[in-house]
């Protein structure tokens, strides 16, 4: 049953209608973030990475979310201190499903929440003394911790604490890396600056202060996975393919990652980047400083997986290239079976996407592989280079929305009636109430992995179960 009620929406006109609701000043600003993709466009024609307008219900987060929540949090053998009041760490506690293997509380701490729990006196007199004590207590209670990061919350930068001095002193004292991160939530316009700040902290406080592990033996096949947070196990279902084609993944950034993997990364022959948005900074740095090339790849859906495996293999010798072909061939029957099973149930279904990072473009071909169509997409915190990479994936006439407001997204979806909305938890129930199938595409709706061939089967099954569940059919009362 298709829920598409309107296939001939005048999208340009729709944008103008929706903008009508804004006060003039905000209308002008928002107009620059909305566009309909034109034929052969070089980018999406929208402005990006600028401040959200107050009061409009942006879906964006903050720099702390980008650093602690995204980049640093998944490093499993470190303890990440949410430095400041209790809330930030509480809300981001176990929120992103960054899977890891370890003994939580003993040699891994990914699903725990450590905070300096600032009180008024810490704001008034400063929190550096408390931070000293926090680090001492952590090192005593968790002796196997391999490093500590200090994730700054808003007040830290406002009250003038010197967390760098504390980090230097404590690192010398405990003999482990202590990394200060200036990711106060008011910095920048979204979580994006938090990614950048977190990358810079790795550059300055890991690469500059530590060495690759003694005894690490390089091979010509050493690669890294950069920008995979192992949500629902994504990095694992990716890693297995890279290993199968004969490569050695010496580091995972940062899902299921460790301090040692960060330290050994400069030994890689090539850095493979999945989430370009959140980790291109460190890849560029390593290219400049260590002469390590980097390459973007896409492990969503069989078309992109095969293309990426070939592109990656092309950087290596014939053995790897042959292996890549073997691996693609090995998985092809499973892929064919998945498509044979699910494509008939999903063919022609329309999707509107609104997420962050790489997904608003990277997942598009996975939908195409199932015969589905993207009629709108947008990014929470993209920069222009993301919008330049997007036309490669989506077609002319696609509605593009940058930092969309809850109001706009609701109106667009209402008018365009896609068969599926693919967005986040804050959006999920809004659209389900409207009778629209929905999948969370940050957390994979508690499913996953979606990366790799193993993940594609789950992705296809999940899109089917969302769209074809009988609940949509009983929504309207017969009386």
């Amino acid at each position: 049953m298709s829920l598409s009620e309107n296939t001939t929406v005048d999208v340009k006109n729709l944008v103008n209608e929706v903008l009508e609701a804004y006060p003039e000043k905000s209308r002008k600003r928002r107009a620059k973030h909305l566009n309909v993709l034109e034929a052969e466009a070089k980018d999406c024609g929208v402005k990006s990475n600028v401040k959200s307008i107050p009061g409009v219900m942006t879906i964006r987060g903050c720099a702390y979310a980008g650093s602690k929540g995204v980049v640093w949090g998944p490093i499993k053998d470190m303890i990440h201190i949410s430095h400041g009041p209790v809330g930030c760490g509480y809300y981001s506690w176990s929120g992103r499903r960054n899977y890891y293997i370890g003994d939580t509380g003993v040699d891994s701490w990914g699903t725990m929440h450590f905070t300096s729990d600032f009180q008024e006196k810490d704001i008034v007199f400063g929190g550096d003394k408390k931070l000293h004590k926090v680090i001492e207590e952590i090192n005593e209670l968790f002796p196997l911790v391999n490093g500590i990061s200090i994730q700054s919350e808003c007040p830290i930068g406002l009250i003038g604490d010197d967390i760098e001095a504390v980090a230097r002193a404590k690192s010398a004292e405990i003999g482990k890396p202590v990394i200060p991160v200036r990711c106060e939530g008011f910095r920048g316009v979204s979580q994006s600056l938090g990614h950048h700040i977190a990358n810079d902290a790795i550059r300055d406080w890991v690469f500059e202060k530590t060495e690759p592990k003694a005894g690490f033996v390089s091979t010509p096949y050493d690669v890294t996975i950069i920008g995979d947070y192992n949500i629902g196990g994504d990095a694992w279902s990716s890693r297995i393919l890279l290993e199968e084609i004969g490569l050695r993944v010496i580091a995972q950034w940062s899902g299921d990652g460790t301090m040692a993997e960060l330290e050994n990364t400069p030994k890689a022959k090539v850095n493979l980047i999945h989430c370009y948005r959140s980790m291109n900074y460190i890849a560029r740095h390593m290219e400049e400083k260590f002469n390590i090339p980097w390459m973007e790849y896409n492990f969503f859906g069989p078309s992109q997986i095969a293309e990426s495996l070939r592109k990656i293999a092309a950087l290596f010798d014939d053995k790897i290239k042959e292996n890549a072909e073997k691996v693609i061939a090995r998985y092809q029957p499973m892929v064919d079976a998945v498509i044979a099973k699910y494509k008939p149930r999903l063919d022609g279904k329309k999707v509107m996407i609104y997420v962050g990072g790489l997904r608003p473009r990277h997942v598009v071909d996975a939908y195409h592989d199932l015969g589905m169509e993207i009629i709108g997409t947008g990014y929470e915190f993209a920069h222009n280079d993301d919008y330049q990479r997007t036309p490669h994936y989506v077609k002319e006439g696609t509605l593009i929305y940058d930092d969309v407001t809850a109001f706009e997204l609701e109106k667009f979806v209402e008018a365009m009636r896609p068969d599926l909305v693919a967005s986040g938890i804050k959006e999920k129930y809004v659209f389900q109430k409207m009778g629209l199938p929905f999948r969370q595409m940050h957390s994979w709706d508690y499913s996953g992995p979606y990366h790799g061939y193993d993940g594609f089967a789950i992705f296809a099954r999940d899109m089917d179960l969302a769209i074809n569940n009988p609940v949509w059919g009983v929504m309207k009362a017969p009386f």
């Binding site: 006060p23 905000s26 401040k51 307008i53 107050p54 009061g55 219900m57 879906i59 964006r60 987060g61 979310a65 201190i81 209790v86 809330g87 930030c88 509480y90 809300y91 506690w93 899977y99 003994d103 939580t104 509380g105 003993v106 040699d107 725990m112 905070t115 008024e120 704001i123 952590i138 209670l141 196997l144 919350e153 939530g185 920048g188 316009v189 629902g232 694992w236 199968e244 050695r248 993944v249 460790t258 040692a260 993997e261 090995r330 998985y331 499973m334 699910y342 809850a406 938890i425 804050k426 809004v430 389900q432 109430k433 409207m434 996953g448 992995p449 193993d454 089967a457 929504m475 309207k476």
Partner: protein, 519 residues
């Protein structure tokens, strides 16, 4: 590389099965041994055992600075929850924008409902110059787009640290015609570095009442027969508020809930998205000034608000998340006393049915040892109910718990022989509780979803009875208050006990002689 793949279209393996397949197990092992440079298995096992010891507990309890897995959030989420219980009210959080994304997410993950709130999206320039312009533009945009009946303003810690003045800013915004002059914009300063979400709740309710009731003392306001009731921050609000209204209906008394989220956090799926639904109306909020009394269901959520109500000449009464037979008795007797109406026969009947149920199941509750954690009021209510069931509350812990709270808990424990082994732990966190459970074992833990890590580590079964519950669905739709609520709580605890017994007696030919059909 074997040719047989684990994944297949016929039977799609989810993450919980997929990663247990041999190819992944081998991959995990390779990653660990070649790349992670972790500690030896022996060392990890040694430290793991040490974390369960008395020695570790002593060190853990000597902590002065680091807080690990606390049972509290920060003020603004409580304020937001409070505001969302008023009709057509849009919370407007002044400060950094990421905070609002977190609050909305947290509440949505528990209630499985949309949660609407806006931010003034302050950034570095606002940190330097103040957020006045953000307030002016923000109120105008929120008013134009989301057509609220009221905008309730609260603050993030960023706005508090730089000292933004809400009263002045809102007045300024009204002068700039962001919203009409007579449009209600109550506010509360909600610094995250003071108290917790329950204090934020208190501040916002007081802010809203202040907005409509005026600030001057007013002892001679004529009083009506109405009784106000403030539920407090409650993850079971959907079920509980409806149950309270039903009880009031049985009584035939005019009970006015101040901040009622029950409809807003439980909208139907019928094709229409309701951004706002139900809640205490502005008229009802104004009228509530004239009520003869205000009852708080959660003392620690309403310290300032009740004081304010008292200043308005209202009689006040406070409870601590009253649950169970006696807890409900006390609530009903208070309603009877305040209204002059007797407790209706229908509720007496419900009481009898609850007591009957407890008697039917008492063998399974008697002497069972429990750890209880959560907000201070919940812990008190839960402890008293357990004592009443013949169970033994052993570790009662709340990060928001004060010395006064500890004394209250102790008093409840002292009043029952079943409280002899119990102790209250105020200002402590779930990492403390881990030590407590390892060194002084209990049979069950009562808490929220965060307790699942305690359950995993200690193997003590967890019963989810307080906010947040992310990993079980729909429990918030059922009340925990009133005699009906007590029955729900009893059944939830019993189900867990029975499931636990079954799970421990199901090995064929070894333990299944006790796998009883009848229990």
């Amino acid at each position: 590389m074997t040719d047989k793949l684990s994944q297949s279209a016929d039977k799609v393996l989810d993450h919980y099965t997929l990663f247990r397949q041999p190819e992944y197990a081998a991959m995990f092992e390779r990653k660990k041994t070649e790349f992670e440079y972790g500690h030896s298995d022996e060392e990890v096992a040694r430290v793991s055992e040490w974390t369960k010891s008395e020695d570790y507990k002593a060190k853990n309890f000597a902590r002065e600075a680091v807080v690990i897995n606390p049972t509290k959030a920060c003020q603004p989420i409580g304020a937001m929850f409070a505001a969302q219980g008023f009709e057509g009210t849009l919370p407007f959080v002044h400060g950094s924008q990421g905070c609002v994304a977190y609050y909305r997410t947290h509440l949505t993950r528990h209630f499985k409902e949309p949660n609407s709130a806006v931010s003034s999206s302050m950034t570095e320039d606002a940190a330097v110059f103040g957020g006045l312009n953000n307030m002016i533009d923000g109120l105008a945009n929120a008013y134009a787009l989301y057509k609220p009946k009221m905008i309730a303003v609260m603050t993030t810690c960023m706005a508090e640290v730089i000292g933004d003045d809400l009263q002045g800013f809102i007045a300024n915004a009204k002068n700039k015609e962001s919203v009409p002059a007579d449009f209600p914009v109550p506010y509360a300063h909600t610094p995250a570095f003071v108290g917790s979400h329950i204090v934020g709740y208190d501040n916002m309710i007081k802010g809203i009442l202040t907005n409509f009731w005026g600030t001057s003392e007013n002892f001679d306001t004529p009083k009506t027969e109405q009784i106000n009731l403030i539920p407090g921050f409650d993850g079971f609000a959907v079920g509980n508020n409806r149950e309270l209204k039903r009880i009031a209906g049985e009584f035939g008394l005019k009970l006015q809930i101040l901040s009622d989220v029950s409809d807003n956090f439980d909208t139907p799926m019928d094709g229409e998205y309701r951004m706002y639904d139900g809640g205490t109306t502005i008229e009802e909020t104004k009228e509530a000034l004239h009520a003869k009394a205000t009852i708080s269901m959660q003392e620690y959520n309403t310290t300032q608000t009740l004081q304010f109500c008292k200043e308005k000449g209202q009689e006040v009464a406070k409870f601590n998340y009253p649950m169970g037979v006696t807890g409900t008795d006390e609530l009903l007797l208070k309603l009877a006393e305040l209204s002059g109406k007797p407790v209706p026969a229908s509720l007496k009947l419900e009481r009898g049915r609850l007591v009957d149920a407890i008697a039917d199941s008492h063998t399974h509750m008697h002497g069972k040892r429990f750890a209880v954690y959560g907000d201070p009021d919940f812990c008190l209510g839960m402890t008293k109910f357990l004592l009443e069931l013949g169970a033994e509350p052993v570790h009662i812990l709340s990060t928001s718990g004060s010395k006064k709270w500890e004394k209250q808990v102790q008093k409840a424990l002292d009043a029952s022989p079943f409280g002899a082994s119990g102790a209250a732990h105020g200002g402590k966190d779930l990492w403390h509780l881990r030590s407590l459970i390892f060194t002084d074992k209990v049979d069950y833990i009562i808490g929220n979803s965060y307790g699942k890590y305690l359950e995993r580590d200690t193997k003590v079964p967890l019963i989810r009875l307080t906010y947040p519950i992310f990993d079980r669905h729909h429990h918030h739709r059922y009340p925990t208050w009133g005699y009906q609520g007590a029955l729900n709580v009893l059944v939830r605890i019993l189900d867990r006990i029975f499931e636990d017994i079954d799970a421990n007696t199901n090995i064929v030919g070894q333990t299944d002689y006790s796998f009883d059909l009848i229990r």
